[in-house]
């Protein structure tokens, strides 16, 4: 295809020769990023992290280096090669890269590191294992709690459901918060809304076994719909696309809760389906961390996204504003305030330990 385009365009004028070595980027700051085996087009944290990095790099007028991993033995080599390339800040994505990140950080104290969705605490002593790693983590449970409360408030059938991609803490934290939020709604309103797909006490539930849209995800969504659920929360990147398919083919009036970004905005074709979304500010936080480091203000204190600092949250109801109980928004505001001031505690086994 490119060949054709090139042929068509090959008659264009040559640009004037300029000695384009002025390196507009005044600084020699070089931000870099390593993906995990999902790659940068995973429609999930790799992609959001990449977008955050690109945004910051554009703002700083620098050209970042980004490398993709294809398997878990690649991580160390990729990080090592970025060090060799002279990166000043290396952002790694996901718990899978924790070991490689810590090892490289200890060996290269002059390079700064940041890791998304992990606390870089391999020995479980509650502290980051190297002084030059900044963990970027999110306390997603409270946001999911609010979404669960909202779902329970909206549900007409009295059944809501969730399922995940794989049983990772970064996935189940959503499910914990969501289920707890439904329980809290029942407690407050004396209702009996059922939450399917995840059992907080035993930490067991439904998973598709991977982070790809497909029949497994479709079957999970279909199963929940067959049990009369009218709100679905699929947690795990693109698996929500199959849930949408299941909803459309069921012909029922079923709403979805999105994760990570406000899917009402990012998936405009299906926007009518989204009750709300649980927001996780990966893009903005990565952008902040990179910008900070670019302006020579890197510090290794973990960044923990909370309701308080708007690192996590829930999106507005958009088109559902008229369909939810009129008091729901106020109740959610009160819950948010309660969580922030500590009068309501939302905890998940997967919550960040800081």
């Amino acid at each position: 295809m490119f060949g054709t385009v090139a042929m068509l365009a090959a008659c264009a004028q040559a640009p004037a020769t300029t000695d384009d070595t002025n390196s507009a980027a005044a600084s020699d700051f070089l931000p870099c990023m390593v993906s995990d085996a999902g790659g940068f087009d995973d429609k999930s944290f790799n992609q959001l992290g990449f977008e955050g990095l690109s945004e910051a790099a554009d703002a700083l007028s620098v050209k970042p280096i980004t490398v993709e991993s294809t398997s878990e033995t690649d991580y160390q080599s990729n990080v090592q090669n970025l060090v060799v390339q002279g990166c000043s800040l290396i952002v790694t994505v996901g718990f899978n890269l924790a070991a490689a990140t810590v090892e490289s950080a200890l060996a290269n104290p002059e390079v700064n590191f940041a890791i998304i969705d992990n606390d870089a605490d391999l020995n479980f002593d509650g502290k980051v294992d190297a002084p030059n790693i900044k963990p970027i983590i999110f306390d997603t449970a409270p946001a999911a709690f609010m979404a669960g409360y909202a779902a329970a408030g909206y549900s007409k059938t009295g059944v809501v459901g969730t399922y995940g991609g794989m049983q990772f803490p970064t996935v189940t934290i959503f499910m914990d918060g969501f289920a707890d939020g439904v329980a809290y709604y029942n407690e407050q309103n004396g209702t009996d809304v059922k939450s399917l797909g995840w059992d907080v006490a035993s930490q067991t539930g439904s998973f598709t076994g991977g982070f790809a849209a497909g029949v497994e995800s479709l079957a999970n969504a279909q199963g929940l719909i067959d049990q009369n659920a009218d709100v679905l929360l699929p947690v795990g990147g693109p698996i929500f696309l199959s849930a949408i398919e299941a909803i459309k083919s069921s012909g029922k009036d079923i709403a979805m809760v999105g994760v990570d970004a406000d899917l009402y905005e990012t998936d405009a074709t299906n926007k009518s389906l989204f009750l709300t979304s649980i927001l996780k500010g990966i893009k903005v936080s990565v952008s902040d961390v990179v910008t900070g480091a670019g302006e020579d203000s890197f510090d290794a204190t973990p960044y923990v996204g909370t309701l308080d600092n708007d690192g996590v949250g829930i999106a507005s109801f958009h088109d559902f504003e008229s369909k939810v109980p009129s008091t729901l928004s106020d109740e959610l505001d009160a819950i948010k305030a309660g969580i922030i001031d500590g009068s309501i505690t939302v905890e998940s086994p997967s919550s960040p330990k800081q």
Binding site: F2, G3, A6, A9, A10, C11, A12, Q13, A14, P15, A37, I65, V67, E68, T70, S71, E72, T73, D74, Q76, S77, N78, Q80, N81, L82, V84, Q85, F95, N96, A99, A100, E103, L122, F124, M166, Q167, F168, P169, T172, G209, P349, S350
Partner: protein, 423 residues
């Protein structure tokens, strides 16, 4: 052929089908070293074209090709030369390093990545020589990694002994996972391709389950599906100190190569292996127990592939592993075995070449922004060219082996007759 269809099946499903299958394997493994070398060369050339096409600078300059063609040529040259020199510097010797010890580091990286590829390649190659296609490398590696890993982090033993026990546990795991295939083939005639593929899934989900189960493979105190770090007593020592990743696992692979060479070329078991691989009917008539050969061969093949899994967890990635630890090596091993024409030292060389691609690929991506997929494409092209020897022969006008006297029409003739007579 005559009336031989009355012979009961020896193990392979139908004589006609398995014969053709065997013939294909023989054609591929019997190619000359020259074909392998030319296949690599052609693949690199095609890779260069792909690098040029995907390069931004090339795309830009192609836009005004007719007004200043030299720009395009320059851009193509820059892209290709840059990528391949990054590949070289990432895989063999880094000219830009300050001193020799740093400069030679890429070579040790290459050998580190080659280690599991050679081990698994030997396993797959051995199966080829017995006329079997072992596509179950992934499963065998995972089971071996699970077994070796568990011994390495959960059992406490004195240094040295611990390492040996962990290695043996891994080899045994791989041997069992491969041996199951041989057993099913020998006893029920199940085709090893299907069984190995299915066992890959069984192993994957079994390991994933164990990784999620506290007390099994999951690291205590963690929720992630990942094992704890291996105990230092069970880890392969570094060969050249902590500066380099190259570990003693490479020595086990050299030993494995020598073992496979001895087995195939010098032992009577290997003689029987090769006899069955070349002509199972004649082997059976000669009193060789073909069923046992299938079982032994698959068990040894599985153990060799298992050695790759052992090297992954005790050498390359000692900080704990998850279900992706096989890193696709089980499949890359097929390529390595084909490129090495299933000869032990050929596989050794092919494994090092692929290790170099792997190590150099990181540098190519980091330094030149060449997508890592290009390396995968080049590897795939190598397989393509090796699997189609006539294509490479045609490209370089090489003679077809064995046809100096008998032109091709003869073989066509014989095959047709088989079909007709042995209805």
């Amino acid at each position: 052929m005559s009336d031989k269809t009355n012979t009961p099946p020896v193990g392979p499903a139908s004589k006609d089908g398995s014969e053709r299958w065997n013939q294909t394997l023989r054609d591929i493994t019997g190619g000359s070293a020259m074909i392998s070398i030319l296949a690599v060369f052609v693949a690199l050339v095609v890779g260069a074209i792909l690098i040029a096409f995907t390069n931004e600078g090339v795309q830009e300059t192609a836009g005004y090709f007719f007004s200043r063609p030299t720009d395009l040529l320059q851009a193509v040259w820059d892209a290709v030369a840059g990528a391949y020199s990054a590949l070289f510097q990432g895989a063999i010797y880094n000219f830009r390093a300050d001193n020799f010890l740093t400069a030679i580091r890429p070579l040790t990286e290459t050998l580190t990545f080659a280690t599991p590829l050679i081990a698994a390649g030997l396993g797959v190659g051995l199966a080829f020589r017995v006329g079997m296609f072992n596509i179950g490398g992934r499963g065998q590696m995972l089971i071996a990694a699970g077994a070796a890993g568990w011994v390495a982090f959960a059992v406490e033993l004195p240094a040295g002994i611990h390492l040996i026990v962990a290695i043996l546990a891994g080899l045994l795991g791989g041997a069992i996972w491969g041996g199951i295939v041989g057993l099913l083939k020998a006893r029920t005639g199940a085709h090893e391709v299907i069984v190995t593929i299915m066992l890959n899934f069984v192993a994957l989900y079994l390991i994933q389950f164990l990784l999620r189960t506290p007390g099994a493979l999951q690291a205590p105190g963690s929720n992630n599906p990942k094992t704890p770090a291996m105990l230092p007593t069970a880890v392969f020592p570094d060969l050249f100190g902590p500066r380099y990743n190259l570990h003693a696992g490479f020595l086990t692979v050299i030993a494995a190569t020598i073992f496979v060479w001895w087995l195939l070329d010098r032992s009577n078991l290997g003689f029987q292996f090769r006899a069955v691989g070349q002509n199972p009917n004649a082997a059976r008539v000669a009193g060789i127990n073909v069923k046992n050969v299938y079982m032994y061969a698959m068990a040894i093949s599985g153990a060799l592939v298992g050695l790759a899994g052992v090297n992954q967890v005790l050498g390359t990635l000692t900080s704990g592993f998850s279900s992706g630890i096989d890193a696709g090596i089980g499949f890359d091993a097929i390529t390595v075995a084909l490129l090495g024409r299933s000869r032990p030292w050929g596989i050794f060389a092919a494994g090092i070449l692929f290790g170099a691609f792997k190590a150099g690929g990181f540098a190519m991506q980091a330094a030149e922004g060449v997508p890592i997929d290009i390396v995968v494409v080049v590897q795939a092209l190598i397989v393509l060219f090796i699997a189609a020897p006539p294509l490479v022969r045609a490209m370089f006008h090489l003679p077809t082996p064995g046809t100096t006297r008998k032109p091709r029409i003869h073989s066509v003739k014989v095959r047709t007759s088989n079909e007709v007579v042995a209805k």
